[in-house]
């Protein structure tokens, strides 16, 4: 098993540093061949109050790869995704009763982890694009301003870099100070992606980012995901088999709160081991 590549220090909980990112000089960059595990989910049981939503989920997600979560509605894809940046903390009565989620070996539900710091490292793009009713510029700089960045040159630079990163720069560079709500649906979603990458997270969670978009806007976002995986680890929830097949390296299939199968995307779609997976990807149920 390949773990996070930090010298000799054991990466298990013991010496957990308080910040999650440790940019290790000389760490192997995304080598197309081998991928290292970034997120490790083990034996996870998740509850909404008394209702169990996830059952014994075990999953290792690769760094600088795109992982897709698929499965019929209500199977717990969003729930698992929202566990990864602790957005579920905001819902009353939610609890992880068993198991753990580790990012680079650090238990993100550990007592010393601040969910605010975690969310700076683990960004999220929502199903319904939610640009803030502020200017495009203010949307992008929101995260940095929250962190106390005031320097105009720095902010300008980040705005351009993020918008370019989200393939939106050319379309909006002349209207940075107009409201983000004036953009088209697809542009709004890319604005939200730009806003997320502006705070330079390591991981980007996307919950059905294209479900409200037309095919052309969808294609643009998919292209973007392709480009982003050079820098970010991306986890995407989708209801579209084609989308999962097109953008992801690995795919996890969930059913009724359980992880049924997890493998390379090509395996899941061409040669699934589990008959339920086979039935779902071939469109026979779900």
């Amino acid at each position: 098993m390949v773990t996070a590549p930090t010298s000799a220090a054991p990466m298990e909980n013991t010496a957990a540093p308080s910040t999650l990112t440790i940019k290790v000089p000389g760490a192997p960059a995304a080598d197309p061949g081998v991928a290292s595990t970034l997120i490790e989910i083990s034996d996870l049981d998740f509850y909404y109050g008394a209702k169990q939503a996830l059952f014994d989920v075990n999953l290792r997600l690769d760094e600088k790869r795109v992982t897709a979560f698929i499965g019929p509605s209500g199977c717990g894809k969003s729930t698992l995704l929202r566990c990864l940046n602790r957005m579920n903390d905001l819902i009353d009565g939610t609890a992880i009763r068993r198991g753990a989620i580790k990012v680079r070996g650090i238990d993100i539900y550990g007592a010393d982890v601040d969910p605010i710091e975690l969310r700076k490292r683990v960004g999220m793009v929502f199903q319904k694009s939610n640009p803030f009713p502020k200017s495009i510029y203010e949307n992008i700089t929101y995260g940095l301003r929250i962190q106390g960045v005031r320097s105009k040159t720095r902010l300008d630079e980040v705005v351009e870099r993020s918008l370019r990163g989200a393939a939106l720069w050319d379309e909006v560079k002349d209207r940075l100070h107009e409201s983000g709500l004036g953009l088209s649906g697809g542009q709004q979603q890319r604005l939200c992606i730009a806003r997320t990458i502006a705070v330079e997270p390591e991981i980007i969670l996307m919950d059905e980012p294209c479900s409200a978009l037309d095919p052309i806007a969808t294609a643009k976002v998919e292209e973007l995901i392709h480009a982003l995986k050079k820098q970010f680890t991306i986890i995407i929830v989708t209801h579209s088999m084609q989308q999962a097949a097109r953008c992801s390296d690995k795919t996890a299939f969930f059913y009724m709160g359980k992880l049924i199968e997890y493998a390379d995307t090509s395996t899941i779609f061409m040669n699934p081991a589990n008959p339920q997976t086979e039935a779902y990807v071939s469109g026979r149920f779900g």
Partner: protein
């Protein structure tokens, strides 16, 4: 008669007649309400305009709007009927008596009838009401918005929170005189003051070991007592409305902000409250009319029947500003109405005061509406 019958031919039957009847009943009820409104406003407007406006330049009764109330003296002197305010009457009388004395004539008799507060103006009342409204709304908004944020954003729904909500609802139904007496007990008689020596003759609550600095001597009949009493009276309205406004801000704004690593308070301050503010202001406008118009809460806590000094005159220390009573428009109407005898002179003052009061509330409300609209434009969503 049209011989052609088809499935949709209109028929006369009971349910159609009933339909028409109910329609007219509802319509009449609406018209009745409208007529009452027109009558009340029209009456005050027409009669009040007689006091507030003049036929000659400058067309506005400046005395009424800029001076303090005085007694009115009505008398017949050398065959002419005269109506003079207190100061003018004294001056006139002194001058006449001096003239008669100089001419060796007998001292003239005046036999004037006096009517309290029927001359002069209502300027101190206008000032007082504006101060009361602004101060109490500021307090109510700050407290109300804080409470609404706590209830809506932080508190976890439970038995305690449900109890709090129920209490707030009940508070909305408490009669204003009860608020007045509550304010009298808590603020006028009991509230703590810094650096004011207690009255050795009276018993005061002592908060050991702070009793050297803080004494529970009460705030007296004062602006600040009135502010808090009025603020408590409108708090339920403001809290409920602020909660509604906060609820109407989409979840996506909150989640998006939190997902970028903002804390809850940063999220509320930057990405929730600004968008809720127009809604909060809209509902506060109703609160303004209530605060400005209620007499019962201020009659024991803040209002003076008459006060010669304006609030900013003759202050020993700037904090004294908060601890002085004021005159107020609704209380003035009440005071003048309870004077005997009632006649055309008192009626004139009452109508004029009511007119100015309505106008003032309209102006304050309009200002809030303009502010609301500006905010709405700025934080459009």
């Amino acid at each position: 008669m049209n011989p052609v019958q088809h499935p949709f031919t209109a028929r006369k039957n009971r349910s159609r007649a009933l339909e028409k009847l109910t329609f007219w009943l509802f319509r009449l009820a609406t018209y009745l309400v409208l007529a009452c409104g027109f009558f009340v406003f029209g009456n005050i407007f027409i009669k009040g305009a007689g006091t507030v406006f003049k036929k000659s330049f400058p067309f506005v009764n400046t005395v009424f709007l800029t001076e303090a109330p005085e007694s009115l003296y009505v008398f017949t002197y050398q065959g002419t009927k005269m109506e003079l305010g207190d100061r003018d009457y004294r001056a006139f009388r002194a001058a006449e008596e001096a003239r008669a004395k100089a001419a060796g004539q007998p001292v003239p008799q005046f036999n004037a009838e006096s009517y309290v507060y029927s001359a002069g103006g209502i300027f101190p009342c206008i000032v007082g009401t504006v101060l009361l409204v602004v101060g109490s709304m500021a307090i109510a908004l700050v407290l109300g918005v804080c409470a609404a944020i706590y209830l809506n954003e932080y508190a976890r729904d439970g038995r305690f929170i449900r109890f709090v909500r129920l209490s707030i609802l009940n508070l909305a139904g408490v009669p204003s005189i009860v608020f007045g007496l509550f304010g009298f007990g808590l603020f006028v008689l009991f509230a703590p003051r810094l650096g004011v020596a207690p009255d050795p003759e009276k018993w005061h609550f002592r908060l050991w070991p702070l009793h050297q600095y803080v004494n529970f001597v009460g705030w007296g009949v004062s602006l600040i007592s009135g502010w808090f009493t009025l603020a408590f009276m409108v708090l339920p309205v403001i809290i409920t409305a602020s909660e509604e406004a906060l609820k109407s801000v989409p979840r996506g704004f909150r989640e998006g902000s939190l997902a970028l690593g903002a804390t809850k308070w940063q999220t509320i301050r930057k990405n929730v409250l600004p968008y809720a503010l127009p809604g909060i202001l809209t509902s506060s406008i109703l609160g303004i009319a209530r605060v400005a118009g209620e007499t019962a809460p201020i009659m024991f806590t803040a209002a003076f029947v008459v006060r010669d000094k304006l609030p900013w005159e003759g202050l020993d220390h700037w904090t004294d500003f908060f601890f002085q009573g004021v005159m107020a428009l609704p209380y003035h109407i009440y005071v003048v109405s309870s004077k005997i005898p009632q006649n055309e002179y008192t009626a004139r003052v009452q109508y004029g005061t009511a007119f100015v009061f309505l106008f003032l509330v309209a102006v304050i409300a309009l200002a809030s509406i303009l502010l609301r609209n500006r905010l709405r434009k700025r934080y459009q969503w």
